[in-house]
């Protein structure tokens, strides 16, 4: 549409500094985006640009995009800190990625390539729905190839392929505060964050160990960011959590319903909470390989299906959760996760070695095969 509409993060940074001196700027009523035109007809014509008829470029009005970008910049400046923003009603239901799509639409420009994954796959209905909203309103091209995307919006996975410093990962967040499980009050938890008072969380983990012998948190494992803020990495599996540590890419976490944005900038320390004698462990897939591509170093999900000759009996098998990478491995089984980088051996994936094999693990794998 116009140059003004395509401002990126950098432009907004200067815009923010410019208005910072103004007093009570944010109390001014929102008068919308002025359109410069000689006549009313010209002004109305100017409203129609690329994208969906009758709507702004990238759906959101420019005020909203600016606000989201400002919140995002603040979040990057204070890694792990939850920044409130006035989340707008989107044409998607809240809880279905409305925070993620607000960030994505605020940073996407027409030259960008956009990838959307939902629980590891580009093919899910909700991912397709979010993708087509961006396609229709922001004129972006889309891809399922992780290495080709400029912006990746994701629900609860970090792709298997290593992300680079020119890529932006937008993670959808259902529950913003890891302390919610120990106290439902955000007001109380905000104070805890301010004082870096995470005692209640430590006690919770300790009680876990006492009751179950280990920490029984599945996804959205609480992590410390840059040694300062406790953060929920969103419900990504523990498998993906170490990928946030000292990453090359920028991760932005966005919640629409809870109206918060937070971020992990590149090369930031991200450390899961754990005890010296109860280490952080990732999901185990002992002796498992992807049923389709044979990968043993990817996050697998299990499914039950009937196979030829099984007389209609259901059998459990495992497949890669990242369907895009699984396809690549299918044609090239030895392709490393950093195949697209200049350097090799990038540490990406499970951050801790598998827990030492025990007899219990053996028993489990036997049971899995027979059942």
């Amino acid at each position: 549409m116009t140059e003004h509409e395509q401002t990126g993060l950098a432009d907004d940074a200067s815009a923010e500094t410019a208005t910072e001196g103004g007093t009570n700027d944010n109390r001014q009523p929102d008068r919308g985006t002025p359109i410069r035109a000689e006549t009313v007809d010209a002004a109305l014509d100017a409203l129609h640009g690329e994208g969906m008829a009758g709507y702004s470029y990238a759906y959101l009005d420019e005020h909203t995009k600016r606000e989201v970008r400002r919140a995002t910049l603040k979040a990057i400046a204070i890694p792990g800190h939850q920044v409130p923003y006035a989340s707008r009603p989107m044409p998607l239901a809240r809880g279905w990625g409305t925070g993620g799509i607000q960030v994505s639409l605020s940073v996407l420009g027409p030259d960008d390539t956009f990838k959307v994954i939902d629980q590891g796959t580009d093919g899910s209905v909700n991912a397709a729905n979010i993708r087509r909203l961006a396609e229709e309103t922001a004129n972006v091209s889309t891809t399922t190839d992780t290495t080709e995307a400029d912006v990746i919006q994701t629900r609860h996975r970090i792709p298997e392929e290593v992300l680079c410093d020119d890529q932006l990962l937008v993670l959808q967040v259902p529950v913003t505060d890891p302390l919610r499980k120990v106290d439902p009050s955000d007001a109380a938890n905000r104070k805890r964050h301010a004082h870096r008072n995470y005692g209640k969380m430590w006690v919770h983990l300790y009680e876990n160990v006492v009751e179950w012998g280990e920490i029984n948190i599945g996804a959205s494992y609480p992590t410390m960011v840059a040694g300062r803020y406790l953060m929920s990495p969103s419900p990504i599996p523990r498998w993906d959590t170490p990928k946030l540590d000292d990453a090359d890419h920028l991760s932005i976490f966005a919640a629409g319903r809870e109206a918060r944005i937070y971020a992990v900038p590149p090369n930031t320390r991200v450390k899961p909470l754990a005890f010296e004698d109860r280490q952080f462990t990732v999901e185990r897939f002992p002796d498992r390989a992807c049923h389709l591509c044979g990968s043993e170093d990817t996050f697998l999900v299990e499914l039950s299906e009937t196979r030829d000759g099984s007389d209609g009996r259901f059998e459990t098998c495992y497949v890669c959760n990242d369907t895009s990478f699984c396809e690549k491995r299918h044609s090239d089984p030895d392709r490393p996760k950093d195949h697209h980088l200049d350097r090799e051996g990038v540490d990406w994936g499970p951050g801790t070695p598998d827990v030492p094999r025990t007899t219990a693990d053996d028993a489990a794998s036997e049971r899995g095969e027979s059942g």
Binding site: G32, P89, G213, G218, S220, E305
Partner: protein
């Protein structure tokens, strides 16, 4: 291979949409017109407008039609549309004492200035199904009424004002002139706690009718101290006024129908000068239930305690919004393969540990194999029972 339950593209989504739309048109009946919805199902469009925070009867009728009568979905359509609109101006504040009421009841006084106006209500109707409505021609039951010329309608005296003049009811906070600020707009500013009363009122006014009613009821049911006496409930029209952009004069653009409710609460606000506390409710359209529920919640939140759900602003505002609760409740239908795999790993790990601990050593003297096997089974059963509190699930993703 069907391991992605929903492999999809645009076509699949469009087909699902088409099937949904087909449900609406599958019958042989005529298409509902927006006029029919607006005229005949006014309660429905009122509810949608109030939950959307947008007064637009025709758009509300369209939303109701498109959502096939699902009020939350319809309010959602309106809100999503509203959020894309340019804001041209802001209206001047209106005193609700200007209201031209078609209905006004005061449960606190038998005789109130201006009198009780029963107006259109079902309150005292026997709830019997009227089978004549099923197939009869529409008749206007008031057609034969002989009406006198009533003259110009007069605004009614506000009952709450009378009580305030007597010093019986605490006044709302009225900050000094230099501390006054523009009201918060929670659609444009993020809500953080502690929250100001104007933000509370805005959120309650946009709250889901069922949620406002249920939470208000919870206070009356005993989970709270507030049991108000309504000063009055009024239904009527209020003018929408703006400053003319060229002349600068105040002009009335249109009117909105609203329901207003005010209550006194027998909680004495001050010890040295005992006064009743109060509550206030206002919704778009005719929706007395929601307005009264809002009144109870406003009064309860002013008590400001964490003892009772309705008195805890955070609890009420976190749960009262239809769009939030609807979206998050229904998102549970989305795939959760990853988070579920993650938690499967945890419960298996814990179960394996327990099983390993329970397993007898093979060269244990005495005891037949069968007995040991039984024991393991029993322990396993126990460990399943014991895991009722765990694992932590997928943490509400």
């Amino acid at each position: 291979m069907g391991y992605v339950a929903a492999v999809a593209g645009e076509e699949l989504i469009q087909r699902a949409e088409a099937l949904f739309e087909k449900q609406r048109v599958a019958g042989d009946s005529d298409d509902l017109t927006l006029e029919q919805l607006d005229d005949q199902l006014g309660r429905l469009t009122s509810q949608v407008m109030s939950e959307a925070g947008l007064y637009a009867p025709r758009l509300a009728a369209l939303a109701v039609k498109q959502a096939q009568g699902d009020t939350v979905e319809a309010a959602f359509l309106l809100r999503a549309y509203r959020s894309t609109l340019e804001r041209f101006d802001e209206t001047r504040p209106t005193l609700t004492s200007e209201m031209l009421a078609c209905r006004r009841v005061s449960p606190s006084f038998k005789d109130v200035p201006g009198g009780q106006i029963l107006g259109p209500t079902k309150d005292y109707t026997q709830r019997l199904l009227d089978f004549t409505l099923a197939d009869s021609e529409t008749v206007d039951p008031t057609a034969g009424w002989e009406l006198e010329e009533a003259g110009e309608p007069e605004p009614l005296t506000n009952v709450m004002e009378l009580l305030r003049e007597e010093g019986l009811v605490a006044a709302p906070e009225n900050p000094a002139a230099d501390e006054r600020r523009e009201p918060v707009d929670t659609t444009r500013e993020p809500l953080t706690h502690p929250v100001s009363r104007d933000a509370v009122l805005q959120e309650l006014a946009r709250g889901e009718t069922g949620a406002v009613t249920a939470l208000g009821y919870s206070a009356l049911r005993g989970y709270g101290q507030v049991h108000p006496t309504l000063a009055e409930v009024r239904v009527g029209k209020l003018p929408v006024r703006i400053e003319h952009p060229y002349t600068g004069e105040e002009v009335t653009m249109t009117h909105t129908e609203v329901t207003e409710s005010e209550a006194v609460v027998p909680l004495y606000a001050k010890r040295d000068d005992p006064q009743f506390a109060f509550g206030y409710g206002l919704t778009f359209g005719r929706n007395e239930r929601k307005a009264i529920g809002m009144t109870v919640l406003d009064a309860s939140i002013q008590v400001n305690s964490t003892e009772e759900p309705a008195e805890n602003a955070e609890f009420v505002l976190d749960t009262v919004d239809g769009m939030d609760s609807f979206g998050f409740i229904e998102h549970l239908k989305l795939p959760h393969y990853v988070t579920f795999q993650s938690i499967l790993d945890r419960i298996r790990s814990i179960r394996e540990r327990k099983e390993a601990a329970a397993e007898p050593t093979t060269d244990q003297p005495g005891g037949g194999d069968e007995t040991d096997a039984d024991k393991v089974e029993t322990d396993r059963g126990r460990s399943i029972e014991a895991s009722q509190g765990a694992p932590e699930g997928s943490n509400g993703d």
